[in-house]
């Protein structure tokens, strides 16, 4: 698997994508370049992009990371395509941004059932939702946990932070 192959597959599946190649120099005696692709994908392009990655080779999702950027929520889908051969895997990160007013994304569990845990974690921590996810039950936080801890504007999170700061102050 090469970064070129993955780039071609992604741009064919979702026109207009501009994958950025960030090669990583690895090794001491005979250094090689390990390919890493970072792509911004519109919400509608997410499922076609993942389908294209899956068609290229065995697909692994490491995790979805994310953050609150004011009016929007940014999610980063960290994939690796093509395990099985030495140095043959390409790391691909898809960056999807949704507005807080409509924080809904399509679930990719239909294509990759292994994504369920990490999608469910994002529901708990960032308050996004996924259409078509098999289960929305909490994985990590208690069922009655108030708010979403990674949201910066969440009043419940603010209360939680204040309690933690108070508690840490007492501890010191």
């Amino acid at each position: 698997m090469t970064a070129d192959q993955v780039t071609r597959a992604l741009t064919a599946a979702v026109p207009g994508l501009q994958p950025e190649l960030r090669p990583r120099k690895v090794g001491v005696r005979s250094p090689v370049e390990v390919p890493e692709l970072w792509v911004e994908v519109p919400r509608e392009g997410l499922v076609p992009a993942v389908a294209a990655l899956k068609a290229e080779g065995p697909l692994h999702i490491s995790v979805i990371s994310g953050r609150d950027v004011g009016e929007k929520i940014e999610l980063l889908y960290h994939f690796a395509v093509g395990y099985g051969t030495p140095g043959g895997e390409v790391t691909v990160t898809l960056r999807v941004t949704v507005s807080k007013a409509d924080p809904v994304l399509p679930s990719i569990c239909g294509l990759l059932p292994g994504a369920e845990t990490t999608e469910r974690e994002k529901i708990e921590f960032l308050g996004v939702s996924f259409t078509g996810i098999p289960s929305t039950a909490h994985v990590f936080l208690p069922d009655d946990f108030p708010g979403h801890p990674w949201r910066k504007d969440d009043p419940e999170t603010a209360k939680l932070v204040n309690r933690l700061v108070e508690w840490e102050g007492k501890d010191a």
């Binding site: 390990v34 490491s62 995790v63 099985g84």
Partner: protein, 420 residues
């Protein structure tokens, strides 16, 4: 799951003698057969990623080490690689080899720990005592090299904190020889023993297709026959040059079935692989600096100015660890820090593994993806410059004495309804 009157729910956990770490399974059983399972995690969720948002990067590094006592090299390696990538920090060649040596030492002790736990879950305690006795050798070496049996504090952004000095090399070589001589005995005890085989063959199967679609990692995926190992697939540090290959049951001459037996095969063979890697690194490691930032204040000042994002990954004993970090100039804390540990990826694999199995096999199937425990069985004290060892028995005596001491000063608890 079939809706019949004969299906009952059995909750197991979050605290249960069969499981060393808190997790809750809700089994649907029909007679002795498991028909379905619901897994609920989060009982040990400490909000570590959240805590990092209030700590600088060096404090976050030490926090990452405390995510897991067993993987206390794996998480720091992943976070240092991520931060070095984000901030553009180079790692000297010798430090890269040293990181590999420590990682492989960690793999040996972790796999031996698992082998003991697996033997215990099967009711084979003699084997538990044998594996944990021989595990002491590698812990002694880790203590010799880092000063600690766990939480080694070795990786730092830009290199490592301690070198392996020439006087220590023969000790590491002796350890490698010790395990080489022992490996056949261990393979015999686990893989050629009829009772172990009877309890683990065709138990808790994860097919290759399930392992692939559920994105299983580490020995859990390799036992199902997937050639999936981050050290092989996505080289980092010097693993690419060391020629690491993913080990599957085929290396033991067997077609992979993905059962508990295969998971034991993979882990035990990986001990041999780690010994080879340690020896190769000791032989090939160049001389030179071990860090590009010898002074911590200079490192902190550099990191505060850094801006960017990066990924760092590592094949921990249980599988892929990956960290994502985002740094902003002028901010000491990481803006985003996402940690993914191997069990996170393997959580879903339990569902097909438990299906149609017997209730009595729950402990070994749960253990087959590898639970982890900290060893807190002794402590070193230095008093007036002379070192000594306090054993568990003494700690227990001290603990009991403290309970007595504390309770002596407590007023009696009033009975319900008061003194009247």
């Amino acid at each position: 799951m079939p809706e019949t009157q004969n299906v009952y729910e059995i909750p197991i956990g979050p605290i249960h003698p069969a499981l060393k770490e808190p997790i809750r399974f809700t089994f649907q059983v029909e007679g002795e057969r498991i028909r379905g399972v619901d897994v609920r995690a989060g009982f040990a969720h400490r909000g570590i990623e959240f805590m990092a948002m209030k700590r600088n990067l060096i404090q976050t590094l030490y926090l990452s080490e405390r995510i897991c006592g067993i993987c206390s090299i794996s998480h720091p390696i992943a976070i240092t690689l991520a931060v070095e990538r984000a901030a553009g920090i180079e790692v000297p060649p010798r430090a890269q080899y040293l990181r590999v040596i420590f990682s492989e030492l960690e793999r040996i002790h972790s796999h031996l720990l698992w082998a003991g736990v697996a033997a215990h879950e099967l009711g084979f305690d003699t084997l538990l005592h044998l594996t944990w006795k021989v595990r002491e050798q590698v812990l002694d070496i880790l203590e010799e090299l880092s000063g600690n049996r766990i939480d080694y504090a070795i990786p730092i952004y830009g290199g490592v904190r301690r070198d392996i000095v020439p006087a220590q090399v023969p000790k590491v070589e002796a350890m490698v020889r010790y395990y080489r001589g022992l490996l056949d005995e261990l393979l015999d005890a686990f893989l050629r023993d009829p009772s172990v085989e009877a309890r683990t063959r065709d138990v808790g199967i994860l097919t290759a297709q399930e392992a692939d679609s559920l994105c299983a990692v580490g020995p859990t995926a390799r036992a199902s026959g997937l050639s999936k190992d981050v050290r092989q697939d996505r080289p980092y540090l010097v693993y690419g040059e060391l020629g690491v290959r993913a080990i599957t049951p085929r290396d033991w001459g067997l077609e992979p079935r993905g059962d508990v037996y295969d998971k034991a095969v993979v882990r035990l063979l990986e001990i041999g692989q780690s010994l080879d890697l340690i020896e190769k690194c000791l032989y090939e490691m160049p001389d030179g600096e071990i860090t590009s930032f010898p002074k911590i204040p200079a490192l902190l000042a550099y990191l505060k100015k850094a801006e960017g994002e990066g990924l760092g990954w590592h094949e921990a004993p249980r599988g892929e660890v990956i960290h994502y970090i985002r740094l902003e100039a002028g901010v000491e804390e990481p803006v985003v820090w996402k940690v993914k540990a191997p069990t996170y990826s393997n959580l879903m694999s339990w569902v097909p593994m438990f299906r149609d199995q017997e209730v009595a096999d729950i402990p070994i199937i749960a253990a087959s993806i590898d639970p982890c425990m900290c060893c807190m069985d002794r402590v070193h004290v230095v008093r007036d410059g002379s070192p000594g060892t306090v054993l568990k028995e003494e700690l227990l005596r001290l603990s009991r004495a403290k309970t007595e001491r504390v309770t002596r000063h407590l007023s009696p608890v009033p009975r319900h309804g008061g003194a009247a």
